[in-house]
């Protein structure tokens, strides 16, 4: 009988103990999948929602625009730049936008806020959160329309309803104050008071005229990626391209440092929670293996007397840990798959506690708690728990191999 078979049989000497320990590993898999899956899902939703709120996963702007936005800083040959972008793998869409500060005035009141001038042909509910959140009216039909879409709270404060006139005042590319008039064509409600009371959407070409921009001049190009995880790599690729030599290319971590910071903090606490769970699982395995080794001390002495080397004895106990880990991971996978399918497809609706949505890091999120695992997370969980199980078995294995046979045997 080889060591592998012997290890497997040894594992079944105490069926209940083995199954309890394997179940603790399985429970570790379930918890790790839930925690990591929640993180993968939640962070992706936050990052995507943040990107759809204006700046994209990657933002291309004139140098220093991000630090100190101004109408004086703008991009040229936008169409050419967008064509270049679409040649890269991983780019879902790109939108040319003008963004800036403005004073919105109605017959009743003036309120400061910010505007996004967008091209309706490039924007839709998938890549623009405000369009997705429209509750009344519609987006401007063309980029030259003279309509404005307001956040519901901004409209309420200005006492505006559909079809009413708004005067917006901002500065043009020379730094001169300019004003234009628009009619309310739609209202959006994101659920975030900060956004709904301060943001307006305007047609791109109309604003270009007001700011004295040419048709291919905008302040930013917001780039939406198929997968936000590639933002670093794609940003670096863009930076190397000659077309973007005189622009500033930033990823979402740079344009939304608050969001990036909050995610980093949340990830850290998530990792700590997972580490604690892992330590509990490891303690269970260590306890089982140590008990198993101590109660077989005499048997190990016999084996060593018969010629089993300390290294082989170490290998035997490590193989027992290996099979225990494999068993735990198999049970864990069987138990976790239905849970994962339910949580990734249906999820748990938390609207009773949070209402229609909630804001995190300045980003609006829905209230259905779902999980989603990236491939690398699955690999990390399985390899992590497997390695942990082996590490937890290493000390008992080392102890088994170190005891002198005469002490294990007491008498031969």
């Amino acid at each position: 009988m080889n060591l592998n078979t012997l290890a497997w049989r040894n594992l079944w000497r105490h069926k209940r103990r083995t199954l309890i320990t394997a179940s603790s590993i399985a429970f570790g898999v379930l918890l790790a999948v839930t925690f990591t899956g929640a993180g993968d899902y939640f962070y992706t939703r936050m990052i995507d929602a943040g990107a759809n709120m204006g700046m994209g996963h990657i933002t291309i702007a004139a140098p220093d625009f991000n630090r100190a936005p101004s109408s004086k800083k703008y991009l040229q040959r936008t169409e050419q730049l967008q064509q270049q972008l679409m040649q890269l793998d991983g780019i879902k869409s790109s939108m040319a936008r003008i963004q800036g500060q403005a004073m919105f005035a109605s017959a009743h009141k003036s309120i400061g806020g910010m505007f996004f001038a967008v091209d309706p042909e490039q924007e839709n509910a998938e890549n623009n959160l405000f369009i997705k959140a429209m509750v009344e009216g519609k987006m401007p039909v063309t980029a030259s329309d003279k309509t404005i879409v307001l956040g519901v709270d901004l409209a309420r404060k200005l006492k505006l309803t559909m079809g009413k006139k708004v005067v917006y005042t901002t500065t043009d590319k020379q730094g001169d104050i300019v004003s234009a008039i628009a009619r309310v064509g739609g209202l959006f409600q994101t659920g975030s008071n900060e956004i709904d009371s301060a943001v307006a959407l305007l047609p791109l070409h109309s604003v270009q005229k007001v700011l004295s921009y040419q048709q291919d001049e905008v302040s930013v190009i917001a780039v939406i990626l198929h997968d936000q995880r590639h933002s670093h790599q794609l940003r670096d690729e863009m930076k190397k391209m000659n077309s973007f030599a005189h622009t500033e290319v930033l990823n979402w971590q740079q344009t939304q440092p608050d969001l990036a910071g909050m995610i980093a903090v949340d990830k850290s606490s998530n990792y700590i929670s997972q580490l604690l769970i892992a330590l509990l699982v490891a303690a269970g395995i260590l306890n089982t293996m140590l008990m198993s080794v101590l109660e077989r001390k005499r048997e190990f002495g016999v084996m060593m007397a018969l010629g089993l080397s300390p290294q082989s004895l170490f290998a035997l106990v490590m193989l027992e840990s290996f099979w225990l880990a494999v068993l735990g991971l198999i049970i864990g996978t069987i138990v976790t798959i239905p849970w994962y399918l339910f949580m990734s497809q249906t999820g748990i609706d938390l609207s009773a506690a949070y209402g229609d949505g909630f804001s995190f890091g300045g980003v609006l999120l829905d209230t259905v708690f779902k999980i989603r695992l990236f491939e690398e997370s699955i690999t990390a969980i399985l390899i992590g728990l497997f390695t942990l199980s082996l590490c937890a078995g290493a000390y008992p294995a080392w102890r088994a191999g170190r005891v002198p046979p005469v002490e294990s045997l007491k008498t031969i």
Binding site: M1, N2, L6, R9, N10, W12, R13, R298, E299, V302, M303, M304, A305, L306, G307, L308, S309, P310, Q311, S312, P404, P405, V406, L409, T411, I412
Partner: protein, 230 residues
Amino acid sequence: MEQTIVELKHLSKIYQQGELELKAVNDVSLTISKGDFAALCGPSGSGKTSILNLIGGLDEPTSGEVWLDKTELASLSKSELAEVRKNRIGFVFQSYNLIPVMTAYENAAFVLELQGVDKQTQQQRVMQTLADVGLAGLERRRPDEMSGGQQQRVAIARAIVTNPAIVLADEPTANVDSHTAEALLDLMQKLNEQQGITFLFSTHDQHVIDRAKRIIQVHDGKIAGDDVRV
């Protein structure tokens, strides 16, 4: 000329118990020759088991030398000692000490497996040895399905299946009834006479003493007598 299998030269083993020094083996010199059927006899605590432990490389001497087939055991590493035990020594323990998750066949084949002997040879040797010890037909039984005598027969089969230079047997009849003890001794005597296997017992069982061809008296860690029966 008799071939020496084991030679002990001024062997001592001192155990430290707090501030007390306990001389378990005290300046023992002894040779065991090929074909011996010898018994280390003496009361409990006389040092006979300690001598067996030292010969088997299970314990390290405080001073003196243990030679096994021209190899001095103190010069070997733990792994090399394991190799010597695997290839040159067979052990029979008082309480059988079979591996409980293995069948009789697998227990007997365990050392052959460690030696890397191929499966076919393993099967031939194990089946023959189990038949030699009277266990033909019981190969698939696990230790908890066998009597004490049957378990000890498996232990003897495990000890001799590799054709070791010497079989060290510590109180091999201590846990069995007198009828079984006689049967086990018959078996070991037959293996000694027919196959030339060298046996060294540690015992205070009169059955063993009566059968041994050589009686080595151990008292307070010293050899008090060494008689060969003709």
